[in-house]
């Protein structure tokens, strides 16, 4: 009795699966987008992380006009950190800052050379554009470095004592300037949200186009239906892992130190959780338009800013980290970085892997429970 029930159930599950495959395969555009879009988007996103920052725009007002102040100004414009534009009064600086024409302004007050000549520390004012804190931080660090270099270059008469503390820094796994190589594994979860969102729409479409009504007449059950869609989209998206992996390792030369099979396994784990979440969304909404907006709200902006892809998750902020850990992509960011760059093993990755399993069980379960064979 139980045996025949199980056989029938699996048969129904397989027929849903076959139907979904047909949906993906019959439309060449959908096929390309599900298989290849992650790799294409990864190429586009990865090119922006070119190592080595660009030039910051600096406005310079030299109120001193002495050879020494010019020498100081020349050290700033001499290298690739800044492109310096000279201004002649304070109002001009204000206008430039408001128009976002410069990232920072440097004011050398009159008496600069006199103070330095007397052996003192001459005050120099820096006005930062505080809106983009990333740029402001970059400008601060760079300017302080230049000031220190200028001090050394002045070759003062007295000999400098050695610095009391020296920091020997070492960046593990990757050299410190390998910005692109460290970002690409973190981007993989974001690019996989494309096929994941396609699954949300696949479910919403059934309801919108009315084919759900014919499905109601069939003996298929909630879990079989959700499961069929889940497996179809997870396996379709998994095929897309190969081009993504090729783009990362061959095109952008990201080192791959882990086990490819482990990556495949954990990607499947991640896709189960996030497709499950997408199916739940698709199940709750009534139209594909709503499904798209919901999916964008959940996968797009948080995918970039809450998953630890850029800024790491602040574990002391309970609410924030709780929301981050509900998103499957957060765990997958950890996994991708660890497998690609650290060569992590399954034992080391067991915490995020188990978290993803729990998440997928929760979302698929919720999807199966809420799936009602009723015309709303």
């Amino acid at each position: 009795m139980l045996y025949t029930w199980a056989v029938m159930s699996i048969r129904r599950f397989i027929s849903v699966l076959v139907k979904e495959y047909r949906h993906i395969l019959r439309e060449p555009r959908t096929l390309w987008m599900v298989f290849l879009s992650p790799a294409l988007v990864l190429v586009a996103l990865s090119t922006i992380f070119a190592s080595g920052g660009g030039r910051l725009n600096l406005a310079l007002w030299d109120g001193d006009r002495t050879p020494l102040s010019r020498q100081f100004a020349a050290t700033l414009s001499g290298d690739d950190d800044f492109s310096v534009g000279y201004v002649s009064d304070y109002d001009e600086i204000e206008t430039l800052l408001v128009a976002q024409g410069v990232d920072a302004a440097l004011i050398i007050p009159p008496g600069f050379a006199e103070t330095v000549g007397a052996g003192g520390a001459a005050p120099v004012q820096v006005v930062l554009d505080g809106v983009d804190t990333l740029v402001a931080g970059q400008a601060t660090g760079s300017l302080l470095g230049h000031a220190a270099d200028f001090g050394l270059a002045l070759n003062r008469q007295f000999s400098l004592p050695p610095l009391p503390i020296k920091i020997r820094s070492q960046s593990a796994y990757l050299p410190g300037d390998a910005e692109r190589e460290s970002m690409i594994p973190g981007l993989i979860p974001v690019v996989f949200s494309l096929p994941v969102m396609a699954a949300a729409l696949a479910l919403a479409r059934e309801r919108e186009s009315g084919s759900l009504e014919s499905l109601i007449a069939t003996p298929v059950r909630g879990l079989e239906y959700i499961g069929g869609k889940l497996v179809a989209y997870v396996s379709a998206a998994l095929v897309g892992l190969l081009p993504v992996w090729l783009v990362a390792t061959l095109l952008f030369h990201v080192p791959f130190r882990g086990n490819p099979l482990l990556l495949l396994l954990l990607t499947a784990d991640f896709l189960l959780a996030s497709v499950g979440m997408a199916l739940f969304i698709g199940n709750m909404v009534r139209s594909q338009q709503t499904a798209t907006i919901a999916a964008l709200f959940i996968f797009f902006v948080p995918g970039f800013f809450l998953t630890g892809m850029m800024d790491p998750i602040d574990t002391t902020d309970l609410l924030g980290s709780a929301i981050s850990y509900i998103l499957p992509a957060t765990h997958f960011v950890t996994i991708c970085r660890a497998i690609f760059l650290k060569g992590a093993t399954l034992a080391e990755m067991c915490r995020p892997a188990v978290a993803l399993l729990i998440l997928s069980a929760v979302w698929v379960g919720l999807g199966a429970i809420t799936f009602k064979k009723r015309v709303r």
Partner: protein
């Protein structure tokens, strides 16, 4: 003219009705932006904070404890582990529990206080996230510089004094919130616009739309109005939340911001119309939207400052509406910029909107089918081939078709 307006109004009313019928959609269009802004405003924009740090103190002296306490007091670092050997800490780094390791070697205090010696401190940072390693190393260097300054006070010749305009405390929130505001308006309007024709096609109502007397421009205008409304309302509502909840100042004029929101939203309408015309199902449209959105975000300077983008991306960023809108948004809200400085991004936005609208109009001119470009090309190729092979026949037929009308001289019958 009056009839045109009537037709546009009819279509716009129909679109608005459709929008308001789906209560859940309305919720997502009007309420979700506010919720997401609240969430993201509270959570992001803090930069790197509280990185778990492992300390390997081999000196066990007062000075080393002082160093460790100071490291823990910074915003960026949080001492999460004390250990006696480095390999144990490295294991924790491998699993991701620890982001940086600071090793204080034996004899640190001695070397620190001796005038002609320098103490060495080793930092190992997790380089698998570039931001983490740079922040960790930078923070330790800053703390070391502070301690050095206290032990041997000596200033360089230049004393830099920093002030930050528009955001004196250099808090991350104003920048993050204006960014989110722009992004959310962007995504909502793009999604609504991108489903317009695809939805009609899937529901089968495109056929009805085809037989209405609506012209191409009327069709575009009628579809654009509801999206424009949604975009403006969302922008206003979110600005309200940003001001009331996050205390973001409005230093410029709000009507100016609203004025520039129009071309920004119209650009998204143009892209959306294009996408909805070239995709057969809404699923495809959504994939196109997501791909386009990621590209725009990539070159608009969110993830990487615009100045450090590679050459190709920097050129692309000039046609990214998000980038120009961000300048306007931050200009009006945070910098107090007026029309005098904002005309340039405003004009760029207008140009982009016109360009994209022209593209959409061209695509609409080709036909409403996703394959109409291909069909037209095929038809053109076939006719030209036929003409090439059987030129005389066609000519003769044509001549017969355009043959002179047979005049019957009526007078002769008289």
């Amino acid at each position: 003219m009056q009839e045109t307006l009537n037709r546009i109004r009819g279509l716009a009313i129909k679109e608005l009705l459709q929008l308001s019928r789906d209560k859940l959609l309305l919720l997502f269009v009007l309420l979700a932006p506010l919720l997401e802004l609240l969430l993201m405003g509270n959570l992001s924009g803090g930069g790197v904070r509280n990185l778990p740090l492992a300390v390997v103190d081999l000196d066990h002296s007062r000075a080393s404890r002082e160093l460790i306490t100071r490291l823990g007091q910074t915003d960026e670092l949080l001492v999460g582990m004390y250990s006696d050997n480095v390999s144990q800490a490295r294991e924790q780094m491998q699993s991701g529990a620890i982001s940086a390791i600071v090793v204080v070697p034996p004899g640190y205090e001695e070397a620190l206080t001796a005038p002609q010696q320098s103490a060495e401190v080793q930092v190992i940072a997790d380089g698998s996230n570039h931001l983490v390693s740079t922040a960790a190393i930078g923070t330790v260097e800053n703390v070391a510089a502070e301690i050095a300054q206290e032990i041997a006070p000596g200033a360089g010749p230049v004393d830099m004094r920093f002030t930050a305009r528009f955001n004196a405390t250099l808090a991350g929130q104003p920048g993050a919130i204006t960014m989110m505001l722009g992004l959310i308006v962007y995504q909502v309007t793009l999604v609504i616009a991108s489903q317009s024709f695809t939805r009609e096609r899937e529901m089968g109502t495109l056929e009805q739309l085809r037989v209405t007397p609506l012209g191409r421009l009327e069709l575009m205008a009628g579809k654009a109005i509801p999206t424009l409304l949604v975009g403006m309302v969302d922008c206003l509502l979110m600005t309200g939340v940003a001001v009331a909840w996050f205390h973001i100042p409005v230093r410029g004029s709000l009507p100016l911001l609203m004025l520039f929101t129009i071309p920004f939203v119209l650009t998204q309408v143009g892209w959306g119309t294009l996408i909805s015309l070239i995709s057969r199902t809404q699923q495809q449209a959504m994939l196109f939207v997501f791909a386009l959105a990621m590209l725009e975000v990539a070159c608009s300077g969110f993830l990487v400052p615009a100045s450090s983008l590679p050459e190709v991306m920097r050129w692309l960023s000039y046609i990214s509406s998000v980038k120009h809108y961000m300048v306007i948004l931050r200009g009006v809200l945070l910098r107090g910029a007026g029309l005098g400085v904002l005309w340039r991004p405003g004009l760029s936005l207008g140009g982009i909107a016109l360009g994209v609208a022209a593209l959409a109009w061209l695509r609409l001119w080709l036909g409403l089918d996703p394959d109409s470009l291909k069909q037209r090309l095929r038809a053109w190729r076939q006719t030209s081939r036929r003409e090439r092979s059987r030129r005389p026949v066609v000519r003769r037929q044509k001549r017969r078709l355009v043959a002179e009308p047979v005049y019957v001289d009526v007078r002769t019958e008289e």
